[in-house]
């Protein structure tokens, strides 16, 4: 199969604001208290395995769950369990949170030791124990992703370093600072998972230094191809990235492994290598802190469970009164309603904005310009979906395949009438679920 065929899904050229790309990662010291929510992944919530008053050390297990779709949670500090309290995450899921008061000794747990990995089963066991979930944002447990139904079928590994969201530079810093770990992680996955022949590292071409560094690092490894992509949002969306790099189409209800592909985020795969080497589970995360309300934008390595208010304080405090805070980038990030939230595994950025960026622009009537239709990477027709949803026309919504919308936000971004098309798509999907459950 020719890899030189030019193929590309549509998208939008967003303004990037990669202000922090040259900021070397600083390590944030542990705060006085960390808050570890029991849901930091896509799947069943964990149950705390510690009690109030217990002494814990860095890297000690604090919550776990036996269900396959979950991932263990480890303490990021040494100290005492101060409370186990109710917690509602920004998506509205009610769960528990383990609060640990740090003693600032940062004593490592004696359970930490490099895992013994000899075959696929022990590798997957180690991946689960590492607490790794998709660090790009989805939070999908990595051991599930790597447990293949048909290992012989999976021949391609795609590493996602597109970093197509504006502002965020944490994956870029990962390449610049921990580049060799990415290659080491690739070799580990290649060794133990599937029959991987080709590895593509997808990077948007607005990061030439990262591309150059990866090309140097992959010399002598012909199976790894650094794959520069035109800088166009959302190149980092899983199905888009797979199509760009391999030309394979992940259809409705399919997962990437069905077309022989595994996609892993660049930071996830680097962490995997670090874990296999050191045995220190996922207890901290590199994030980009930026936005008009932050005094000193930074890239920082933050202990998991650190509240955003503490992170902002480490970044010099607020420059102006914050009005909007985002977990993630501005295209798909989630707004949070106070800054008391703790950092969880799949956060990769914390953005704070003042009044100017917060004003909602009023919607006006659709002028049928077709920009949304031309922008949609999945070739959906957002304006038609909008109209069908307003009429609550379930048949038409199905015929327009609203269920395939990945909510990337391109349609809302380009709409000159400033219509919240993504929101309508979400509501329309919910409406169809409601209808079919009746």
């Amino acid at each position: 199969m020719s890899k030189d065929v030019i193929r590309s899904l549509k998208g939008v050229a967003v303004r990037h604001y990669k202000n922090t790309e040259d900021y070397v990662t600083e390590t944030m010291p542990e705060p006085d208290r960390v808050y570890l929510p029991c849901v930091q992944h896509m799947g069943a919530p964990c149950t705390p395995v510690v009690k109030v008053g217990d002494l814990v050390k860095v890297g000690q297990l604090v919550a776990d769950c036996e269900k396959p779709f979950s991932s263990p949670i480890y303490s990021s500090v040494s100290g005492k369990v101060a409370a186990i309290e109710d917690f509602i995450n920004p998506q509205g899921i009610r769960t528990q949170s383990v609060v640990i008061e740090a003693d600032h000794q940062q004593e490592l747990s004696e359970t930490i030791a490099p895992p013994e990995v000899t075959d696929t089963a022990s590798f997957l066991k180690a991946v689960r124990s590492s607490g790794l979930v998709g660090l790009g944002g989805a939070g999908f447990p990595t051991h599930i992703k790597l447990s293949l139904r048909d290992p012989a079928k999976v021949d391609t590994l795609v590493i996602n370093i597109a970093e197509c969201e504006p502002y965020i530079t944490s994956d870029y810093r990962n390449v610049m600072e921990d580049g060799p770990d990415i290659i080491e992680g690739i070799d580990l996955v290649r060794k133990y998972v599937g029959k991987i022949e080709n590895v593509y590292i997808g990077v948007e071409d607005n990061k030439p230094k990262a591309i150059q560094r990866l090309q140097v690092l992959t010399q002598g490894k012909p199976y790894i191809k650094v794959f520069p992509m035109r800088s166009q949002y959302p190149k980092g969306a899983e199905k888009v990235l797979i199509y760009e790099t391999t030309g394979r189409v992940v259809g409705d209800g399919m997962i990437p492994a069905d077309v022989g592909v595994i996609v892993m985020n660049g930071t996830s795969i680097a962490f995997l290598a670090q874990y296999i080497r050191t045995g220190i589970p996922l207890i901290s995360k590199r994030i980009t802190v930026d936005g008009s309300a932050v005094t000193t934008p930074k890239n920082i390595q933050v202990p998991l469970g650190t509240r955003f208010v503490d992170i902002i304080q480490f970044c010099g405090g607020y420059k102006q009164e914050p009005k909007k805070m985002l977990m993630g980038g501005p295209m798909m990030g989630i707004t949070i309603f106070n800054d008391n939230y703790p950092l969880i595994k799949n956060n990769n950025a914390l953005l704070c904005f003042g009044e100017a960026e917060t004003k909602a622009i009023p919607e006006s009537a659709c002028i049928r310009c077709g920009r949304c239709v031309r922008a949609c990477p999945f070739q959906l027709m957002p304006a038609a979906i909008d109209k069908a949803y307003r009429a609550r026309d379930a048949e038409k919504l199905k015929a327009l395949y609203v269920g395939r919308c990945m909510e990337c936000g391109c349609c809302s971004y380009v709409c000159p009438a400033k219509r919240n098309l993504v929101l309508t798509n979400r509501l329309a999907k919910g409406f169809l679920r409601e209808i079919s459950s009746k």
């Binding site: 707004t335 949070i336 106070n338 006006s364 239709v373 999945f378 809302s412």
Partner: protein, 317 residues
């Protein structure tokens, strides 16, 4: 505790809103402003070709279209929408469809038909079933045929008493040259004659991504090919009449043309076909307005038949 450490001063009640949190700069009014900018060279050329009365007619039409929209919104207690500039675009395009000697009070009636009847009564911007300026033109054409076909000029560069297509239909032997047609040295309505400035406007719109080139190219191409096949002079036909004005500025109206490129192509072929049939076999010398109007009306059906195939294909039932 009297003293609270700074990190405990958390910010509550931050704004929660749906993603995305950044938006493109383009707005409805910036899009409409681009159309006005694209029309500017044609207005200026027209003022030279037909004299200063061009500017008076244009100003009256813009003022009336905006005024009618303002009044309609006020009377019906709707949100005032004149700031989106779409009424101004309608006004300019309608003016560009009038001959230079056209009476002002009749132009006002055209504006009323365009804005109140065609646009606002059907729900305002984005809801009209046909291009408002086009309906305004057709209303004037069937109501005041004598004035709408008065091609006598004074005050500008053009000295004419008939349009090139009219001359062709009447069997005149002294037809204008291709260069005269291209530069607009011929009789006609204000905005249709100078192909050069219409082309500049069209290229500007494509460059600014306001329109895609599909409709103008396919429409003009269809007319060219059909005229060639039917034995008429294809170059003379595409350079005459309202084809460029219609193909670039009227057939591309968002509301009344299909959304997908495939739909646009079908729409444009239809426009071209009807135009040529009217021009060569109909009782009118010119067919662009009726062609676009008819295709406007079937646009919803074209839209239904030309949905994009989503990524991942369609499900077979």
């Amino acid at each position: 505790m009297s003293q609270v450490s700074q990190s405990d001063q958390t910010r509550q009640h931050l704004v929660v809103m749906p993603s995305p949190h950044i938006k493109d700069r383009a707005t409805t009014s910036s899009v409409m402003l681009d159309v006005l900018i694209a029309l500017a060279p044609t207005i200026i050329a027209s003022a030279f070709l037909f004299g200063p009365r061009t500017l008076l007619l244009t100003a009256v039409c813009v003022a009336c279209c905006a005024g009618f929209e303002y009044l309609f919104c006020m009377v019906t207690k709707r949100e005032n929408t004149i700031r989106d500039l779409s009424a101004c675009v309608t006004g300019v395009i309608l003016a560009m469809n009038l001959p230079v000697s056209f009476p002002i009070w009749m132009a006002v009636i055209g504006c009323f038909a365009a804005i109140v009847i065609t646009k606002e009564l059907f729900g305002g911007i984005g809801q009209n079933f046909a291009n408002p300026a086009l309906v305004g033109r057709i209303v004037l054409f069937v109501s005041f045929a004598k004035y709408m076909t008065d091609w006598n000029t004074s005050g500008g560069l053009v000295v004419a008493s008939a349009t090139p297509l009219g001359m062709l239909a009447s069997g005149s032997t002294e037809l204008p040259s291709y260069l005269q047609l291209f530069l607009g040295l011929k009789g006609g309505v204000l905005g249709e004659t100078c192909i050069l400035t219409l082309l500049i406007g069209g290229i500007y719109l494509v460059w600014r991504k306001v329109i895609t080139p599909t409709i103008p190219l396919v429409y003009i191409g269809t007319v060219f090919v059909l005229c060639f096949l039917l034995g008429a002079d294809p170059l003379y036909h595409i350079l005459s009449g309202g084809l460029f004005l219609g193909a670039i500025f009227m057939a591309t109206d968002y509301t009344t043309s299909p959304v997908t490129e495939k739909g646009k192509a079908i729409f444009a072929v239809g426009c071209g076909l009807i135009t040529v049939i009217i021009r060569l076999y109909g009782s009118y010398a010119e067919g662009v307005s009726f062609a676009i109007l008819l295709m406007n009306i079937i646009t919803p059906h074209i839209d239904n038949l030309t949905r994009q195939v989503p990524f991942g294909g369609v499900q077979k039932k």
